[in-house]
């Protein structure tokens, strides 16, 4: 599948129908997930209604890390096999991942105010998540600071791979430091510790974020490929 799509022409043909499809899926999943999460799921016996922020917060946290992992894979492929489509994919994913990270940070602090009594605390998880956000910003800034796209792609890929170290730190920060933040309750060895009535809307929202990511990623990639083609055509015109 991936090797098949690695050809830009085939990718363009595939994404021409896949991007709208994923977009549609995202819309449906949000249409189901949001009301379910915000209105029909039970309030928490401890946290009350504020628990509903979770359905926005947790998927954003998961996918901000997921997107970074995806960029890591794409960067590795771009660096080792010099595959330009992988470079395009990594670059196109970054702003989406940065947005997810921002959503996680913002909803996290909104949630923190009522439950912990503070917007922000320099605990391990919060700090490492902020670090992820800044790594995203640095990655994007590096891309835009250079005008030679090929070089920019390779350098950004190196940076992205180095930044992968942060992912396990985020994941395990709650276990390594005793902190304010909740330890893993859904994805942990020994089964999930969350009530099924909350798990349903949560997973739906996670699916919605994923579909949205896939749709936006393909749209960004298509735009980048179009821009490249136009530039190449202009260069060829300039030479003649």
């Amino acid at each position: 599948m991936l090797t098949y799509l690695a050809n830009p022409a085939r990718f363009m043909a595939f994404s021409a129908w896949a991007a709208p499809l994923f977009f549609g899926l995202a819309v449906i999943a949000f249409a189901v997930g949001l009301p379910w999460a915000l209105a029909f799921s039970p309030a928490d016996y401890q946290q009350g209604e504020t628990v509903r922020i979770m359905y926005v917060h947790v998927p954003a946290a998961w996918w901000s890390m997921g997107v970074y992992a995806f960029m890591g894979v794409a960067s590795f492929v771009g660096l080792v096999w010099r595959h330009s489509l992988a470079d395009v994919a990594a670059r196109a994913a970054a702003p989406i991942g940065a947005t997810f990270a921002a959503v996680c940070l913002i909803t996290g602090s909104l949630w923190g105010a009522p439950t912990w009594g503070t917007w922000w605390e320099w605990d391990g998880r919060l700090t490492s998540m902020l670090a992820l956000f800044i790594i995203y910003l640095g990655y994007i800034a590096l891309w835009s600071a250079m005008d030679d796209e090929e070089k920019a792609a390779r350098l950004a890929a190196i940076l992205c791979l180095v930044g992968l170290i942060n992912l396990p730190i985020i994941k395990f920060s709650v276990d390594w430091w005793s902190t304010l933040h909740q330890p893993a309750s859904i994805m942990r060895s020994g089964g999930s510790a969350i009530h099924p009535s909350m798990l349903g809307p949560l997973l739906t929202m996670a699916g919605a974020y994923l579909a949205l990511f896939a749709a936006l990623l393909m749209m960004n990639m298509r735009a980048a490929i179009f821009r490249r083609r136009v530039e190449a055509a202009r260069m060829r015109g300039g030479e003649a």
């Binding site: 320099w122 700090t127 490492s128 902020l130 670090a131 992820l132 800044i134 790594i135 910003l137 640095g138 800034a141 590096l142 600071a145 250079m146 070089k151 390779r154 350098l155 950004a156 190196i158 940076l159 791979l161 180095v162 930044g163 170290i165 942060n166 730190i169």
Partner: protein, 216 residues
């Protein structure tokens, strides 16, 4: 090995001549002057804010030197010559990092001793603070090599470097300040040593890969 030593020696000489050893002095004076100015004359506040200042000074001194570390080599053609050496580029990058540590990291770590005493840290903690600073600056430099190499082609990349390396400066700062605070000194020191080792192992490899691209 020869090439490593030659690179190390030249970089030490150049940084020294360029005022490298002034870094701790300058930043130290600057920080101990600026911060109280900005914070007002509250002694208690200063005393708790004090030890972290050395860490911030260390991070900033490393940051200030990073921008030109490889950019100068790229602009004057020295990088080409480094790539023609029998020594692997990784080793030469490590030599430059080692030189930077000797001229900037080590003096800063030593400056940590008077700083800690001036800010009335318990004397028994002073060796640990100096050691933590020595390890922390090594970690900063290891990570910084990557940032410097990746941005070597960008003019006035100083701010870009800051953005790129700061997230990686966080762990050493967190554990370093823990040492200054006196909690779980042993554990914090071994984590710092781990950070420094990891940064010094990874840094030269990633930086050398980036520099090979810069030379194109």
């Amino acid at each position: 090995m020869n090439a490593f030593v030659a690179t190390f020696r030249r970089d030490v000489a150049l940084m020294w001549a360029g005022g490298g050893a002034l870094a701790p002095l300058g930043f130290f004076l600057g920080a101990t002057m600026l911060v109280p100015l900005a914070m007002g004359p509250d002694r208690a506040l200063l005393e708790s804010a004090g030890p972290p200042l050395v860490w911030i000074a260390a991070a900033l001194a490393v940051l200030a030197t990073l921008e030109r570390l490889f950019q100068a080599d790229l602009e004057d053609g020295s990088l080409d010559q480094m790539m023609l050496s029998p020594a692997p580029l990784e080793a030469l990058v490590l030599a430059k990092g080692a030189a930077m540590w000797c001229v900037i990291g080590l003096p800063l770590a030593l400056a940590g001793a008077p700083a800690a005493i001036a800010l009335q840290a318990p004397p028994s903690l002073v060796p640990a603070i100096v050691l933590s600073l020595a390890l922390g600056t090594a970690a900063f430099i290891g990570v910084g090599l990557i940032g410097a190499a990746v941005t070597a082609g960008v003019k006035r990349g100083g701010v870009l470097i800051a953005l790129i390396v700061l997230p990686f400066f966080a762990p050493p700062i967190i554990f370093g300040s823990a040492v200054a605070g006196g909690d779980e000194v042993g554990a914090a020191l071994s984590i710092l040593a781990g950070c420094a080792l990891a940064a010094l192992a990874l840094g030269p490899i990633a930086a050398a890969a980036a520099l090979r691209l810069q030379a194109e």
